[in-house]
């Protein structure tokens, strides 16, 4: 964050009878690494690969645990009626409570409780029917009350599991499925933001984010490398987005990940852990963790000791129960709620469970079953934002089978998108355009190699249809038998050795001749026809 790039101003903080300095974070977003998609396939490090040696089975391995702060998607904050919005004018979303005016009290937002319960259920957690709020004290300018209200003693959900997968194997096309234990999910307040303006020697504070509801998810140290951690976070992100409990944009700070990293020899106690904090993308998470593992391995191999350096100054003076909030009760059924409380004021487990949407895992299973595609195909479809919808839209409008479509979508389309750092929604080729193209191929109007060529054209000039491109560039299939006969004869005549080999029984060489024919015809010749002519001429 470069202070110089942020406009700085002074504004009368609404509803607070004192001027406080604020800053305009207009450029801030773009100074961050804007990578929302977690791309596990390009991680520079492979799980354990860099530290495992076949000759020494008891080598040092990484141990990674995560703390994830997920901003709850809600209209208002956790304990006040202020709106929750990203990039609103500074200090425009601040209630008396958010500014910690004396005498104000927290009032729990039911939506936030529901979101936490829903998230807990989706992660197979035990939902505590009674949970408690605590104050966690520390002095910080963007924490106006001097404490954060959180759930330290008894969180709303505990003991869950997050099952995640990543692509592994030498060709990185094998689906590896693992799981990490969720220790707890706790409700807590977000802090404000402070910016230190060194030039003017000021600290500027924006309280818009102060008091926004967070779910803190604590994952046990069941992971061993950056790739696993990134894959687990990506799966969590997909689950939260499916549930609608968190928008999950890491670049907007809606999902923030801190990692605890240590190394040890399997079987030994864990080593000293360090913290990798404030990571704003999955790719950076994987890199930062792997870097830290390597650093620790290096330190230990050189006879040094790992030091926990991130907590040089601990401002926390401890916890105490939040006296202004009664215990939070979640009821099993509507009938178990007390009659004096209005139904709109209670959270009922049965109702939240009934409202659970299709989760990513179920979605992948459904895709595999209904389209007869491979699990790793479904993994890619679900992990890329919008790709499933794209795929299904193409399948719906084309005669080509889903297994054919999946190749186009997962390889051709996604390859180009990645190459140009675009999201699926930014693709210049719409599902309809791709479907038309595939139909032309299915109808035998173009060959598969031409189809790929046309796809490139569509990408470059999205205003045109596939049909137009084919006509303009004369890419239609050549089924003129005489012409194909002539070209085949030319190829056979100029490659006597290969013809000899085919005649000797090596039928595979025929493919080479076919390729040469297609080269001559710019891929437009009907391959079935070419094959039969070549077979005839080489028999």
């Amino acid at each position: 964050m470069a202070a110089s790039s942020a406009g700085i101003g002074t504004l009368l903080c609404k509803n607070i009878n004192k001027q406080i300095e604020i800053f305009y974070p207009t450029n801030r977003r773009y100074t961050w690494c804007v990578i929302r998609r977690i791309c596990t396939s390009i991680s520079r490090f492979r799980c354990q690969g860099q530290i495992k040696r076949k000759s020494a089975p008891k080598e040092l391995v990484g141990v990674v645990g995560l703390e994830v702060h997920a901003q709850i998607q809600s209209i208002t904050k956790l304990f006040s009626g202020s709106q929750v919005r990203f990039q609103a004018p500074p200090n425009s979303l601040v209630s008396f409570f958010d500014a910690s005016l004396p005498g104000t009290l927290p009032v729990l937002n039911r939506r936030c409780v529901e979101a936490a319960v829903m998230t807990g259920l989706a992660l197979d957690c035990v939902i505590n029917r009674k949970s408690l709020f605590d104050r966690k004290h520390y002095f910080y300018a963007d924490l106006p009350a001097g404490y954060q209200i959180t759930q330290q003693r008894r969180p709303i959900a505990v003991d869950g599991t997050l099952t995640y997968s990543h692509l592994g194997g030498t060709r990185r096309n094998t689906l590896i499925t693992k799981s990490v234990r969720i220790k707890q999910i706790q409700l807590e307040q977000d802090s404000g933001k402070s910016l230190h303006d060194d030039r003017r020697g000021q600290t500027l504070i924006d309280l818009n984010r102060a008091g926004v509801g967070l779910m803190e998810l604590v994952m046990e140290p069941d992971m061993s490398c950056g790739e696993e951690a990134a894959a687990a976070v990506r799966e969590l992100q997909l689950i939260l987005q499916a549930l609608g409990t968190c928008q999950g944009h890491m670049d907007e700070g809606q999902l923030r990940v801190d990692a605890n990293v240590s190394v040890h020899r399997p079987g030994d106690p864990w080593g000293v852990r360090t913290e990798v904090k404030n990571i704003n993308s999955g790719r950076n998470l994987a890199r930062a963790i792997d870097y830290e593992i390597q650093r620790q391995v290096g330190v230990l191999k050189n006879g040094g000791t790992v030091q926990n350096e991130t907590r040089s100054f601990d401002r926390k003076s401890g916890f105490m129960p939040e006296p202004n909030l009664p215990p939070l009760i979640v009821y099993d059924r509507p009938s178990t709620a007390p009659p004096c409380v209005h139904p709109s004021q209670v959270v009922v487990l049965e109702e939240v469970r009934a409202g659970l949407p299709e989760l990513p895992r179920a979605r992948r299973t459904r895709l595999v079953e209904s389209y007869d595609i491979l699990p790793e195909h479904s993994f890619t479809l679900v992990n890329e934002d919008g790709l499933t919808d794209y795929f299904e839209a193409v399948v719906k409008e084309t005669k080509a089978g889903p297994r054919k479509v999946i190749g186009w979508v997962n390889q051709v389309l996604l390859g180009l998108l990645h190459h140009h750092s675009l999201s699926v929604s930014q693709s210049p080729v719409t599902p309809q355009m791709l479907a038309q193209l595939l139909n032309l191929q299915e109808n035998g109007q173009i060959s598969s190699s031409v189809a790929k060529q046309v796809f490139q054209e569509l990408w470059r000039a999205p205003g045109k249809t596939a049909q137009q491109i084919i006509q303009e560039q004369d890419l239609g299939i050549v089924s003129n038998t005489t012409e194909i006969h002539r070209i085949c004869q030319k190829v056979v005549d100029s490659h006597p050795d290969q013809v000899q080999a085919i005649r000797g029984g090596n039928k595979k060489v025929l493919n080479k001749l076919m390729g040469l024919v297609q080269k001559e015809t710019k891929g437009r010749a009907d391959p079935v026809l070419v094959r039969s002519i070549l077979e005839e001429k080489t028999s």
Partner: protein, 530 residues
């Protein structure tokens, strides 16, 4: 023209047009000026009061009263937020702080047409039991200037005045000196009842959760309750009737609809009521005169047919120590927000944010507050938490259990002293430090806060020094009405005479004859256990 005004009578007089709200407001404002030496008020909201009185007057002239409090002057302890009126907590930290909102209790009173006269003095952030530790100077007990005390002490009252008690000393003095007809205090360890007893007025601490704390600048959130100070039990019931009930802004208020407090029954059968006398309250330091009053009222009960019995609250003796741990811990937490950033005093020191915090908090808080923050943070340290805070909470549960057992056995109400003795001379009181004083003065009142129970102090007599003595009644949770019913019985039997003001010639005192209370629907035998 000697007046002994109960609020309800003024209300009636207003309704009948015998006195106008504006006239009444002016008289109270005059009295505030005349009793300026008491230092009961930090802020007098004269302009607003006259405006509200004028509005009440136009309502009453049209015959559209908002209720029994319409046009009635009242005062509010300066730790309740009042919109556009300074709220200082008697601290330099907030000496120029004007809140942008009204506390729920203040808003409810304003909605009823009550006329706010001003904000009353207190110990800084309500930490104290004498109203002597205020950034605006100590409160003087109005009884210091009464003939009974002056004749007996023989000293100049300006040199030898007695304390008002605290921390709501200003609110008690305001009502005792008739500058307001009722006032709001806050009660965390006895802060409403203690000054109520020392100033000879009725002081009610309702059940925790019955009255909203929203807008009350907290001392100890789990024990704070807005208190009501009046000149009669009946008035206390009327004000409680307005204030009680669920507030969406305070999640600790009960959602059940509370019993209406339209009137207190006075024809119940005493034989159905069991009065407990806790033996542990007969402890060292209890003055002979207060003990005598305690016995006198217990005897009155017995003679009237109440079942009076000795009970035991064995853990009461630990209440004060336990209170100090919990109180200081919550104080440390609650005071953390006063860092000079968003509001309040801010030091000029700007070498670093930490240096600014330190200088701000050093300059903004007095020694008492800083001392409690220091010890509170010590109790909250990770390594100390189990030893102090958790232990104190366990003891708190034992204290609760004592009360539950006694009330569970069928006892309806407990009778105890409110304070050890009558009011001390200021010069004697300040010999000891605040902590020692609070430990001594809160001893009888504090356990009710620990357990969240309703308690009321009722004046019973003047001591040989000519100063009031009060007794306390403690009831089971949410039995505030029953508690007040018994308190009213005491009030009627003891015949305590509040301060009367002699009208100066030409000034014109409030000319209202003492009238019988308005007829209300009495519920018979309300207290009979089912």
């Amino acid at each position: 023209f000697i007046q002994r005004l109960l609020r309800i009578e003024v209300s009636l007089a207003l309704k009948e047009g015998r006195i106008s709200p504006t006239e009444l407001c002016r008289k109270c404002l005059n009295r505030i000026k005349k009793t300026h030496h008491l230092n009961a008020y930090i802020t007098v909201s004269e302009e607003l009061a006259l405006k509200q009185a004028h509005e009440a007057e136009s309502r009453l002239s049209k015959g559209v009263s908002k209720g029994p409090l319409d046009g009635i002057p009242f005062a509010v302890k300066d730790n309740f937020c009042t919109e556009n009126i300074k709220t200082t907590c008697a601290s330099n930290m907030l000496k120029d702080y004007t809140p942008p909102y009204n506390a729920t209790v203040v808003q409810k009173l304003l909605d009823q047409g009550a006329v706010l006269m001003g904000k009353t003095n207190l110990d800084e952030f309500a930490m104290g039991s004498g109203s002597t530790d205020s950034a605006f100077g100590p409160v003087r007990n109005p009884w210091s200037y009464e003939a009974a005390y002056r004749e007996k002490s023989g000293a100049d009252p300006d040199a030898d005045w007695v304390i008002a008690g605290g921390s709501s000393g200003g609110s008690a003095a305001a009502v005792a000196s008739l500058t307001s007809f009722f006032s709001l205090g806050s009660d965390t360890g006895g802060s409403t009842r203690n000054p109520g007893a020392l100033c000879g007025v009725v002081a009610l601490k309702p059940t925790y959760g019955l009255v909203s704390r929203h807008g009350l600048i907290p001392l100890v959130n789990s024990m704070d309750v807005p208190g009501i100070i009046t000149r009669s039990v009946h008035d206390a019931a009327t004000v409680l009737g307005v204030l009680q009930g669920h507030d969406v802004k305070d999640s600790t208020t009960v959602t059940d609809h509370p019993t209406p407090l339209t009137g207190l029954p006075d024809d119940f059968d005493p034989r159905n009521i069991r009065v407990g006398i806790p033996k542990e309250y007969h402890g060292p330091g209890l003055s002979q005169e207060t003990l005598a009053q305690w016995s006198r009222v217990a005897d009155m009960f017995e003679q009237a047919g109440f079942q009076v019995e000795q009970v035991s609250l064995p853990h009461t003796q630990h209440s004060i120590v336990c209170y100090h741990v919990l109180c200081h811990a919550e104080v440390a937490s609650n005071m953390a927000r006063f860092d000079g950033l968003e509001y309040g005093h801010r030091s000029d020191v700007s070498s670093s944010t930490e240096a600014m915090y330190a200088a701000t908090r050093h300059g903004g808080f007095n020694d008492v507050v800083r001392g409690r923050i220091l010890s509170g943070n010590y109790f909250l340290l990770k390594q100390n938490y189990e030893h102090y805070f958790v232990k104190a909470q366990q003891v708190r549960r034992l204290i609760n259990e004592d009360f539950r057992r006694v009330f569970g056995s069928g006892v309806d109400v407990l009778l105890t002293p409110t304070t050890l003795s009558d009011a001390m001379r200021h010069t004697d009181f300040v010999q000891e430090d605040n902590r020692t004083r609070s430990a001594q003065e809160d001893i009888f009142t504090q356990p009710a806060n620990m357990a969240g129970l309703p308690a009321v102090s009722v004046p019973t007599a003047l001591s040989s020094r000519g100063l009031p003595i009060g007794l306390q009644l403690i009831g089971p949770a949410f039995q505030d009405r029953s508690l007040l019913t018994v308190a009213q019985w005491i009030e009627q039997k003891v015949g305590f005479a509040p301060i009367r003001y002699h009208g100066d010639a030409g000034e014109g005192e409030i000319r209202v004859d003492v009238l019988p209370s308005t007829p209300t629907v009495w519920e018979k035998n309300y207290l009979i256990p089912c």
